[in-house]
């Protein structure tokens, strides 16, 4: 017969679980189930859902394209100031997102040091545009990818890469055919975390990209606005977020993010 786990651990663990469960119970208790179909098909909700999915997925994709090389450099190349770079990369994890959004505005806004020349050269103005949402999402979410992938690269047995080189593979071939496939579980886990963080992003987005329905108003922003005016819509929007997040996290559980 198996011994029972210590009672104190069971009690504390259940209290911890309650902290996660109670808010959802509250949400479900306030849900206007009868009006739900109408609420969910309202333009505000569908616009926000579409925008949230598009911008969060793009943020995850950009994070992969820029974050994997950054992680590789941090893990494999010794350069002066590496620890400073690593601190800068992880800064958005600690920084209040509002501060991040403000910083983005000062840099990439119309009068920002990069935003001004960028607008003159290309006509592209990031703030208050959907691209601005993507930038804000990426800024806040990419650190999750970088630290996950960097950790995986550090744990990878580099002898495999040496072996691949000895069989004639150049460095990019080694990366593509050996390194990345071998850290695939961590890479996917990092992408899921990055996407999840981008999907829920609020502070940096509203500060940098504003709150325009159909253009920059993502689900979290729409919830915030609706709470002031229309509680039923706020609840419906929240349910959509909970549902999408749960579906993704459950579907990917075990199979993909064991590496965490």
């Amino acid at each position: 017969m198996r011994r029972r786990p210590p009672a104190v651990l069971i009690v504390l663990g259940c209290l911890g679980l309650a902290l996660f469960v109670v808010p959802f119970v509250g949400l479900l208790a306030r849900t206007p189930w009868r009006d739900l179909p109408d609420l969910l098909t309202g333009k505000v909700v569908t616009d926000a859902l579409r925008l949230s999915l598009v911008t969060s997925l793009m943020a995850a994709a950009i994070s992969a394209i820029l974050g994997v090389p950054l992680a590789w450099l941090l893990a494999r190349v010794e350069f002066p100031g590496r620890s400073v770079v690593r601190a800068l990369v992880t800064l958005p994890l600690v920084l209040p997102p509002v501060v991040g959004g403000a910083a983005l505005l000062f840099a990439l806004g119309r009068r920002g040091i990069i935003g001004g020349p960028l607008e003159q050269a290309t006509g592209l103005l990031l703030p208050f545009s959907t691209w601005g949402v993507v930038v804000a999402n990426t800024f806040v979410a990419m650190p999750f990818l970088v630290i996950t992938v960097e950790g995986a690269l550090r744990n990878l047995d580099t002898r495999y890469e040496g072996a691949a080189a000895s069989f004639g593979a150049g460095r990019l071939t080694v990366l593509r055919r050996v390194t990345l496939p071998m850290i695939a579980p961590s890479l996917v886990a990092g992408l899921v975390l990055t996407w999840a963080r981008a999907f829920g992003e609020f502070g940096a987005t509203i500060t940098f990209a504003g709150n325009l329905q159909g253009r920059t108003q993502t689900l979290p922003l729409a919830v915030f606005v609706a709470l002031e005016s229309d509680r039923s819509t706020a609840v419906a929007l929240s349910l959509v977020m909970v549902a999408v997040s749960l579906i993704v996290l459950v579907a990917l559980r075990d199979r993909w993010w064991r590496a965490l």
Binding site: R159, A164, S166, F167, G168, R177
Partner: protein, 358 residues
């Protein structure tokens, strides 16, 4: 004229104060072994030859091409060298099938997908593991993985075959079987072959020439028989199972510590190494009579049964390894702690001048 085969002088520094300094020359069709304990520098030598670690000094030339020469600023990177390595622990790529693993080198060196797969299949066939083509490395036994690793090393048609501890991860039965297969494939490989191992049996059976390496330097080079019968360092002697006694020779005796050994060689003088084969030592329960001049009393410290024969470790004044038959052990009622007399014929002790140590 640039020499064929491998001509290498490897000088590399690693970690705190470790220095590898090793000269190697292997003609095509010959097998050399680097035999040494862990930490002797064997892996550093592999990394340098494979191009994974640039030399700090010396030079590597293979089939007439200089691969590394730091003084002249020449360094051919790993992917451009034609060195086929069967790595320690195999290092088969876990996410690829066996076939993809062997095809990897061919693909990297420019073969098309189909050609690479066909070439890989042919090598798997030759190594007798064609049936494993679609398996993942995680599902292979040690012996199977070693054959696949060998196929992968040979598939690209390298100029040098490097085998790093090829049999060390295998159980005894598989090792004996695979050693035979390895001997065949080594013989079929036309270029120079280098075997890296800490297992003397492997080196003795597979190599034409053995370089004993200790603490980054070669301490003895010779044929397997040279090393076996005339080991020059306690490590080599231990590998070969022989006793090695360092002492000072003069007029037919060798003084080692406080002990005097009578030897057949009356001419040598100065520092010498005396080699005594374990089977050349006789064991008696009472003081023997007659000719042996080397006779002394000691105790049995340790008894090791090795099938037909038994190895004894004796105590002071001169600790030696003695090999006798199981039968003799029984007749003499030997047990640890037993008091015995040892005798060695003077002519059974080989001596040779001890090289001054650098």
């Amino acid at each position: 004229m640039s020499p064929a085969g491998l001509v290498a002088h490897l000088v590399a520094h690693r970690g705190e104060g470790f220095r590898l300094d090793l000269a190697l020359s292997i003609p095509p069709g010959r097998t050399a072994a680097l035999l040494g304990p862990n930490g002797a520098g064997k892996s550093t030598a592999v990394a340098a030859l494979a191009g994974l670690l640039p030399l700090d000094g010396g030079r590597i030339s293979l089939a007439g091409v200089v691969l590394d020469d730091p003084e002249r600023g020449v360094f051919v990177p790993s992917e451009a060298r034609k060195v086929g390595v069967a790595f320690q622990d195999h290092l088969l790529f876990p996410h690829m099938t066996v076939l993809e693993n062997v095809a990897f080198g061919l693909r990297s060196r420019g073969a098309g997908r189909e050609a690479a797969r066909a070439g890989a299949a042919e090598w798997l066939e030759r190594l007798g593991v064609a049936g494993l083509a679609d398996r993942k490395p995680g599902d292979l036994s040690g012996g199977e993985a070693q054959r696949v690793a060998l196929a992968r090393a040979l598939a690209t048609g390298p100029d040098l075959l490097l085998l790093d501890e090829p049999l060390s991860a295998l159980d005894v039965t598989t090792r004996v079987e695979l050693r035979r297969a390895l001997a065949e494939h080594l013989a079929a490989f036309p270029g120079p072959r280098l075997l890296i191992t800490h297992d003397p049996t492997e080196a003795f059976l597979l190599a034409d020439e053995i370089h004993v390496i200790e603490a980054g330097a070669v301490t003895q080079t010779g044929t397997p028989d040279d090393i076996r019968l005339r080991p020059r360092t306690p490590y080599a002697a231990d590998l070969a199972g022989s006793n090695l006694v360092a002492g000072i020779a003069e007029g037919g005796v060798v003084r080692a510590g406080g002990h005097v050994l009578h030897v057949g060689d009356r001419l040598s003088s100065g520092p010498v190494l005396a080699t005594i084969r374990p089977s050349a030592i006789s064991v008696h329960r009472v003081e023997p009579e007659g000719s042996p001049r080397n006779t002394w009393r000691t105790t049995v410290d340790l008894i090791e049964h090795l099938g037909e024969s038994v190895r004894l470790r004796t105590g002071r004044p001169l600790p030696l390894t003695v090999e006798i038959t199981e039968e003799a052990t029984r007749v003499l009622h030997l047990a640890p702690g037993a008091e015995v007399w040892l005798s060695i014929k003077a002519t059974a002790i080989a001596i040779e001048p001890d090289r001054p140590t650098a």
